[in-house]
């Protein structure tokens, strides 16, 4: 159930800067704006998909949203409360409500501990449950994510990639969170297993009334999972809107190129999809272009795009684009 009256998470002009190099290096100390001026509202019960090329800042943004990274500029609100600069101890009670699932489950699971123990860990840290209650809850979680009861005694290496990701998900939902940030949760999995995990995430969302922020580079997976998507380029959101609408009729030239580049299975020979091939690489965020950051690669760039940076504007309710000449 999507509740449009209650934003669960909100960012206002959020930014994250990193400084790199040192004053002794040739270029001196420099600043990268990994996330720049992002204002995004996430409603309770929905799934927001973040898409964009590598280096566009989607993972950095995700980490800012759960405060794994400190926020350099702007504000982050959770259920209307400003948590931008809350200290770690102040954040602690919030942690149980904001969880994250990572791409590589084996990197986040201690290989020397049994998976039952790993799933129980957040319960022990945050909960006030007795050990028998914890055992019961772990069994419940295993059932929820589709693992067998006798799997609790196994070690992570005894599982396949898909099962390990199920363990990662069980850990994330152990404390009944409200919001789960999923950073490329299916990218490391075999194609035949991806669909299982995508379905599992959809089931859990329905059963537990979860809100998701979903990051993946596989655009068809993002479309399947998301109610709304935000397209990022060089640290900023360039387009935002309902997933199906954005995929059917992208308004920003970058979204158009990105979506047209996805290879799809054509059952009819000589398909009609037109492909826009972008020239050049993503510019370095250290030295972003003037004006619209996409203009050096944009097929429809005009004089205005070189000098004036377009703001993210709402053209239609729920449909935002940062472009001087959107296709709408």
């Amino acid at each position: 159930m999507i509740d449009k009256n209650r934003p669960i998470l909100e960012t206002r002009s959020l930014g994250r800067r990193f400084s790199i190099g040192s004053r002794f290096s040739a270029e001196g100390k420099r600043t990268v704006h990994a996330v720049d001026n992002v204002s995004l509202t996430v409603w309770r019960g929905e799934t927001v998909g973040l898409v964009g090329e590598s280096g566009c800042g989607k993972s950095t943004l995700a980490r800012c949203l759960v405060r794994l990274y400190d926020i350099s500029d702007g504000e982050l609100l959770f259920e209307g409360n400003d948590i931008t600069s809350k200290s770690l101890s102040e954040l602690r009670p919030l942690r149980r409500r904001l969880q994250m699932v990572f791409q590589d489950p084996s990197a986040s699971l201690n290989p020397r501990r049994r998976v039952g123990d790993l799933v129980a860990e957040p319960l022990r840290i945050h909960g006030r449950l007795s050990s028998s209650e914890i055992t019961k809850r772990v069994a419940e979680l295993f059932d929820l994510v589709g693992l067998l009861p006798d799997h609790v005694m196994r070690f992570p290496h005894e599982f396949s990639g898909g099962q390990r990701q199920r363990v990662g998900i069980a850990r994330a939902i152990a404390l009944n969170p409200d919001l789960v940030v999923l950073d490329e949760p299916v990218s490391a999995l075999d194609v035949s297993v991806q669909a299982q995990i995508v379905n599992l995430l959809a089931d859990l969302q329905e059963k537990l009334n979860l809100t998701y922020i979903f990051i993946a580079h596989d655009l068809s997976v993002v479309r399947q999972v998301s109610t709304r998507i935000a397209v990022m380029y060089l640290g900023s959101i360039v387009e935002e809107g309902p997933a199906e609408e954005v995929f059917a009729a992208p308004a920003h030239p970058y979204s158009q190129a990105l979506i047209s580049a996805v290879p799809v299975v054509e059952t009819t020979p000589g398909g009609t999809r037109k492909r826009i091939i972008l020239t050049g690489d993503v510019p370095s965020p250290l030295n972003p272009p003037t004006g619209c950051r996409f203009h050096p690669r944009c097929p429809i760039a005009a004089e205005r795009c070189r000098s004036e940076r377009p703001q993210l504007r709402e053209y239609r309710p729920g449909r935002k684009v940062a472009c001087h000449f959107p296709t709408m």
């Binding site: 669909a195 299982q196 290879p263």
Partner: protein, 319 residues
């Protein structure tokens, strides 16, 4: 005929037992043809091509069967002879371009070295050729790119440099192992375009390994689907995508979320996960995950049979 592989079997002795990575794979490749090999991890798609390249040097490996390149048997060929072919007539590109590039020399130097290893030409002539090659793979400024080190290039540009290196000796056969998997879709589109163009200009035959059905459907002339070390279906691109026959191919195509149209509420997923090659199920390896599985599937392994469009499945054979 550029390449003809017959009943190829590759197995590895391990502490846990014998791993049959490839169990009877046969295929042919004609001049300037693109063969797409699709499969998941452990399906044997990479190992079969490593065998073709003569790159399986593990003392615990056994290679049986026949690999003929332009009529010449490659299995059992001395390493010196193979080296003469590799990088020259047969070239390979990998998923991670850094496996083929050294960080300590410039791109230009590395490609020139490759040319000079196989051709008797001067350094300056080789450098001229490098510039041509870099222009061919769409480096915006080829002359400048020659003096770049790999770390100064983006992932897409590195992969282009490796492709330039692979093309440097005009190979008759190019083997590409997931060359676009690590790249963004926008960059991938450019690389796929490049492969298509090169096939036309160089007349190279290409074996393109990928797990992405979409990539195969855009690029390949013929397709081979692998599962647990065997070919489960092969056919022309049109045959395979408009009339997939093997339950695995069908299920795999069905589980890909659509990019347009109605979103299914749930994806038709394949249950379970690919089997371990150490503990393959009895009979057909896809049996335990197969929706149309019945008794004969446990009794024996189905053969692929002959014909351009064929599927290794008892149900298909029966129909």
């Amino acid at each position: 005929m550029i390449l003809s592989v017959r009943d190829l079997r590759v197995s590895f002795r391990t502490n846990d037992g014998l791993v049959r990575a490839i169990d009877g794979v046969s295929f042919d490749l004609e001049e300037s043809e693109i063969l797409g090999v699709v499969g998941e991890s452990g399906s044997g798609k990479t190992v079969s091509l490593l065998a073709v390249m003569g790159l399986i040097t593990d003392p615990n490996a056994t290679i049986e069967g026949s690999i003929r390149y332009k009529g010449r048997e490659l299995v059992g060929l001395p390493a010196r002879e193979l080296r003469r072919l590799r990088g020259n007539e047969i070239a390979m590109i990998f998923q991670d371009p850094m496996t083929a590039l050294t960080p300590v020399y410039t791109i230009g130097w590395q490609i020139a070295e490759q040319i000079r290893a196989h051709r008797n030409i001067s350094k300056s002539k080789a450098m001229e050729r490098v510039e041509e090659l870099l222009a061919e793979v769409n480096f915006p400024n080829p002359h400048e790119a020659m003096s770049r080190y790999p770390h100064q290039l983006s992932g897409g540009m590195r992969q282009r440099a490796v492709i330039a290196m692979a093309l440097s000796c005009n190979p008759a056969l190019l083997v590409a192992d997931e060359p676009t998997t690590a790249l963004d879709v926008t960059v991938q589109a450019g690389i796929l375009d490049l492969v298509r163009k090169l096939r036309a200009t160089h007349k190279s035959a290409v074996v393109f390994i990928t797990h992405d059905m979409g990539v195969v459907s855009e690029l390949a002339d013929r397709v081979m689907v692998m599962y647990a070390g065997r070919v489960v279906e092969r056919g022309s691109r049109a045959e395979l995508f408009s009339d997939p026959r093997h339950p695995y191919t069908r299920a795999l195509l069905g589980s890909i979320p659509p990019l347009t149209g109605e979103k299914p509420r749930r994806l038709p997923a394949i249950p379970g996960s690919p089997p371990s090659l150490l503990r393959l199920p009895q009979g057909c390896a896809f049996g335990p995950r197969c929706p149309v599985h019945y008794e004969p599937c446990e009794a024996g392994k189905p053969d692929l049979g002959s014909g351009t469009h064929a599927a290794a499945c008892f149900r298909v054979a029966q129909a």
